[in-house]
Symmetry: C2
Subunit: 361 residues, 2 copies
């Protein structure tokens, strides 16, 4: 994926952009085809239709055009803030309806100085009375502030009938690496005062999927007890651009779109010069021996499918019980879009079943 | 993927074919881009490099060009026979070396009239003394006759330290649907006379991955006891062309290449007019309630990734314990190519561990 080509059309109409980019790509590919380097594969342009074996709600999500502004690259925390605020405003509009349908209530709080939401379902399942979950939201370490962080926490609490503490961790420009991780650990330590670690699990998607793995690594480093389980959804487990689906699912995943898109740019700002290969930013490089049972979720169109399955393999190689769920046709984090999609319910019920199997009571 | 375009270059050199196909694809895509139908996604041409996070052996397999003659479409069993014989001759050359490295011996036999190979490792693990596995080989129901069927059986016996009976089931032009399935069931019934069903597992890849699921469905239909476990690798679980990675991994998977390629053509010949949506040909449509624990294997470049994960979901929805393994960068059945690749060993050790957990002793 050549950034220079894709960036040319930013100010143009989508059709002109599509035509221009395609022509350039095709031209580049045809020229390359004359002397294909060993080990490379030329894949022709293609038109994808929406898969037929998914719910109508998911079909709509899969069939949506590429995320608008997927190729923006704000360079500072201050540049990210208006982007994050605009996105949050749009997302937050969905929250009240989700709360109503999922029958959950939300309370804003502070835990040892860290902002958080307590998400409580109308009915807590009997086996979950003495359990609670820590949620780390996604958004490339720079997006989804405030209530925009909530959808996944609502889905988990509502479908899983379990209490969730969603950490509204600090993000640029308020704070930089390792602020998000530190906030997660602070909340974990605080909750351990009333709930045994083995009765808790960490869960999150995208940057949140990475953060829950980073929290596992950090807990080991600090000598803290491990939680009873971890659920990591389509984790940004490798921000060094290693991962084959960065290529194969580029321009196929309509959310992240490309490894040279907005999400990578956000992570670079959060990292603030820190080595991107540090396992606390790219947890696939961490030592996962001693991790609790972990469930991973991805989809066949996910740009981070490779970085989900690579974590799965690393966990298995470290002797950890690890389950992998890959959903037909889903791109990055499609399962936290629409609580009425049967696949969303299925994802969170799988996670809830996994938690129930492994958490203390 | 338009067959007519891809077929135009059959007699031309690979480079000319690549250029011609690309030009046609790009032209078609650019024209389409002017009026993209709702729900479709235009994906530009791309050049894939070999992933870096795999073993050198697997990198070589992933970096190989598209399978030669991937777009042949023999129309009868008689037309397939010379194709199968030529392929088998090439494959069989690898078998003696594999046997030596994996420390297994092979004995040719007949079980209730069905041709089979008994594959015995030099060392049978103590827990496997009273267990045996039934292997159904792959090859689109028309390929890999005789010893060409053996590699996967050798890998399983050698890495898993367990006895394997590999069914050399009848294929066109000798016999048509449901001959392969019938031969598998005949062997299963025969082995049940000396080994309890719960001490046995079925395993196979591709058509073999479908056949082991079809055998599970057929066993249910016949009121036979279920085996203790099933391992289905990148199964041809849906031969009606449903499955999103038929699109997204078309021309990315260097083995199957396209749903309009040789493999589909082979299945149509085997089916001999039978409804392709019959669960005994497309097992994803079968009722999997009551299935034994099942482990599924695929890769991120696999054309049948969707049809692996769809089976995984169906099993989970039917309350079956089912594990999914997806390997970085692998296309269809890459894990049964080179017994010296660390990933091949990992695949079969995962399966062996799964079998050990679930089989009777």
């Amino acid at each position: 994926m050549k950034k220079s080509q894709l960036a040319t059309g930013r100010a143009l109409s989508p059709t002109v952009l599509a035509l221009g980019s395609l022509a350039l790509f095709c031209l580049a590919t045809i020229v390359n085809a004359q002397t294909p380097p060993a080990g490379t594969l030329q894949v022709p342009a293609k038109t994808l239709t929406t898969p037929t074996d998914v719910s109508p709600q998911l079909a709509k999500i899969i069939g949506a055009p590429l995320r608008s502004n997927w190729d923006i690259h704000p360079k500072t925390g201050e540049e990210w803030k208006p982007v994050a605020d605009a996105g949050a405003e749009a997302l937050m509009k969905n929250v009240p309806g989700m709360m109503e349908r999922l029958k959950v209530k939300v309370e804003k709080t502070t835990i040892d100085g860290v902002r958080a939401f307590i998400v409580t379902p109308e009915t807590i399942a009997p086996e979950n009375t003495n359990r609670q979950l820590i949620h780390m939201h996604g958004g490339c370490y720079v997006l989804n502030p405030r209530e925009a962080s909530l959808p996944e926490a609502l889905f988990m609490a509502g479908f899983g009938h379990i209490k969730v503490v969603s950490v509204e961790y600090r993000m640029p420009p308020e704070a930089y690496f390792p602020a998000a991780l530190d906030d997660g650990i602070t909340v974990y330590k605080a909750l351990m005062k009333t709930t045994p670690a083995k009765n808790m699990a960490f869960f999150g998607t995208s940057a949140g999927g990475a953060l829950v793995l980073e929290m596992g690594l950090k807990a080991k480093e600090l000598g803290l007890p491990m939680p009873g389980a971890i659920a990591s959804g389509t984790p940004m487990s490798d921000v060094t651009k290693v991962g084959d689906t960065f290529q194969t699912n580029a321009m196929v995943d309509n959310v992240l779109v490309s490894p040279d898109g907005f999400c990578d740019a956000g992570t670079i700002v959060y990292a603030a010069g820190h080595d991107l290969k540090d396992p606390l930013l790219s947890p696939v490089y961490g030592d996962m021996h001693g991790f609790p049972p972990t469930i991973l979720t991805s989809g066949t169109r996910d740009l981070l499918l490779s970085n989900t399955v690579r974590v799965h393999r690393k966990l298995r190689q470290a002797g950890v019980e690890a389950a992998l769920q890959v959903y037909e046709g889903m791109a990055h984090a499609h399962y936290i879009r629409d609580d009425t999609a049967s696949e969303s319910k299925e994802v969170f019920e799988e996670i809830a079943t996994f938690f129930d199997k492994h958490l203390g009571k």
